[in-house]
């Protein structure tokens, strides 16, 4: 019973750790995808190195048709215009990023409406901008004030205009909150003299597997066009590296945890086995064969471990589910740190079924290894010595 209890406790612990680890990764990826790169991007081949509007392109006609048929119902494409500008209020001037979007697609991609803190987002169809609330504060701008944008358009053309501020966007990711100026993509095209050109296209898919399929499929059509389609891992190599490093250190922690757990369980099995030495000796002296005794020990330990693992999974599931829907908020310094990395200040949990499967299997393997002890013991203990205890 103590053994089942320790197995159970171990499973819950390992589950929680892995869920937190994986949860923060999933969130980092999902944030990057939804607010940054998308799953895939179609770009000019030079754009990745030099993200200038001069490398914008016109995706229309034949190629767009091919793209749409490749995407089917499982994915969709979003045209984007992005460029650095100077943004000025009445008193101050700041560097900012103009992002040309299509409001309903943006909302579909990342639930953008949730982050609109003032103003009516659909009004973005008109001439006007939504700006990050942090930027608004720096420029001391209010809704209905005028924002002046000065930048450089296509091939060195002057890009300057005045826009009414239609509303604010409050977002936990700081680069959005402090730098973003959203306007309709058509308006941005006019501002930067891009005509039908767009700086890049994002592609959102149901999942990463679908996205990779789209990439493989569409790549063929881009040969010779001077365009390329990039996966988010190619767009964010630093993120991939950081995740890999984090996973590795996560694994080290996990292994330490497993070693501690294994010794804990082994301890209970050890005491149990030693306590029952005399009983084993009696059974063998009366005529029970050692391999039958060993089998019995094996079955017993495995049953206990199974029980522990399943109860552990059973207890772990609602706990993780709770934290999944009510992530632990981070406070103070940690919160700021996380925000700097562009994440929301919550400790997210993952409910990926692979966690439950992995932890369950690892624990079963662990207990299987530990079972070797009582089995070995059944074959080797001395009858006479243990009868006398």
């Amino acid at each position: 019973m103590i053994t089942a209890g320790s197995v159970m406790f171990a499973v819950v612990l390992a589950l929680t750790m892995e869920s937190m680890n994986k949860g923060s990764h999933e969130q980092m990826i999902s944030n990057t995808l939804r607010f940054g790169t998308g799953y895939l991007q179609i770009q000019d081949t030079a754009y990745y190195e030099t993200p200038s509007l001069d490398f914008s392109f016109d995706l229309s006609g034949d190629l767009l048709q091919k793209l749409n048929s490749t995407l089917g119902n499982h994915a969709y494409a979003i045209p984007r215009i992005e460029s650095f500008v100077l943004a000025a209020g009445e008193l101050d001037t700041r560097g900012a990023i103009v992002t040309g979007i299509i409001p309903e697609l943006e909302d579909r991609m990342n639930g953008f409406l949730k982050f609109v803190s003032q103003g009516n987002f659909t009004s973005l169809e008109e001439k006007g901008v939504f700006i990050g609330s942090g930027l608004a504060k720096r420029l001391t701008l209010n809704v209905k004030d005028t924002l002046v944008i000065i930048g450089q358009g296509f091939q060195g053309m002057q890009a300057a205009a005045k826009y009414p501020v239609l509303g604010f966007v409050s977002h936990p990711m700081e680069f959005i909150d402090n730098q973003m100026i959203y306007m309709h993509v058509k308006e941005a095209a006019w501002l930067f003299s891009l005509d039908q050109n767009r700086s890049h296209w994002l592609i959102m898919a149901e999942n990463d597997k679908k996205a990779k399929e789209v990439k493989r499929e569409f790549e063929k059509h881009l040969v010779g066009t001077g365009l390329t389609i990039l996966h988010w891992e190619e767009l964010q190599p630093d993120l991939v590296k950081a995740l890999a490093f984090d996973s590795a250190s996560g694994w080290v922690m996990q292994i330490i945890l497993y070693v501690v757990i294994a010794f804990g369980i082994f301890g209970t099995i050890l005491t149990m086995t030693l306590e029952r030495q005399k009983e084993f000796a009696i059974l063998v002296s009366l005529g029970m064969k050692r391999h039958i005794l060993a089998l019995q020990c094996f079955v017993e330990t495995i049953m206990i471990s199974f029980l522990g693992v399943f109860i552990g999974l059973g207890i772990g599931f609602p706990i993780l589910l709770y934290f999944y829907f009510n992530p632990i908020p981070l406070r103070g310094g940690l919160s700021d740190l996380v925000k700097e990395y562009g994440m929301e200040p919550f400790l997210p949990f993952s409910m990926s079924p692979s966690i439950f499967l992995m932890q369950g299997i690892i624990m079963l393997i662990l207990s299987l290894i530990i079972t070797a002890y009582p089995v070995w013991r059944s074959f080797t203990f001395q009858i006479l010595k243990n009868l006398r205890r």
Binding site: K278, I282, S285, L286, G287, M288, K289
Partner: protein
Amino acid sequence: MPIIQTKKLYKIYNEDTIPVYALKDLNLDFEVGEFTTIVGPSGSGKTTLLNMIGGLDVPTRGSVLVDGTDISTLKKNQVINFRLHHIGFVFQSYNLIPVLTALENVSLIMELQNREKKEIRERAIHVLEEVGLADKLNSRPSELSGGQQQRVAVARALASRPKYVLADEPTANLDSKSAMNLLDIMARLNKDESMTFIFSTHDQRVIERARRVVTLVDGALYEDLKKEG
């Protein structure tokens, strides 16, 4: 033919350092239906002898023949099987399985022998009745007195009808009343079931009840006394 024979039986501990002769040149025959006690001072080799003829230990030299078979030549599993089918054991400290009831403890050996369930149950109840524990079938060892536990142990040893029952100081942990009671039961079973009993003891009153007294001193035979009638 005797059921058990020991031939030039030696058991020597620490043969290569300071040898201890636990058994020295023992030549003994035991017949079917005997009621024999092994006596002698502490350390004289009684336990060692019982372990030898019970197949729990192997001789240094010489042999133990049971029905003409030298049991020291058997393989490990064969010895276990031999014990299971032919020998009943009663230990000084009862050695019942604590988690099993009296009935289950008594059934255990027959279950290991793969006998039929109904037969096991009937036989187990029968022997428990014979040792006077008909009302304790479902008690666990911890709920029984020492004397009662040892009676369960005797019932367990007997239930599978082994060739002989070995008991190492079966009364050593019992008060004299329980001891005499146990001996009465053993003597009766010796007669009713014609079961061969070989047991060791210190107790003078127990020795008086035996029909043959084998005395060991320093591992050697000192006296072999057979009473008539």
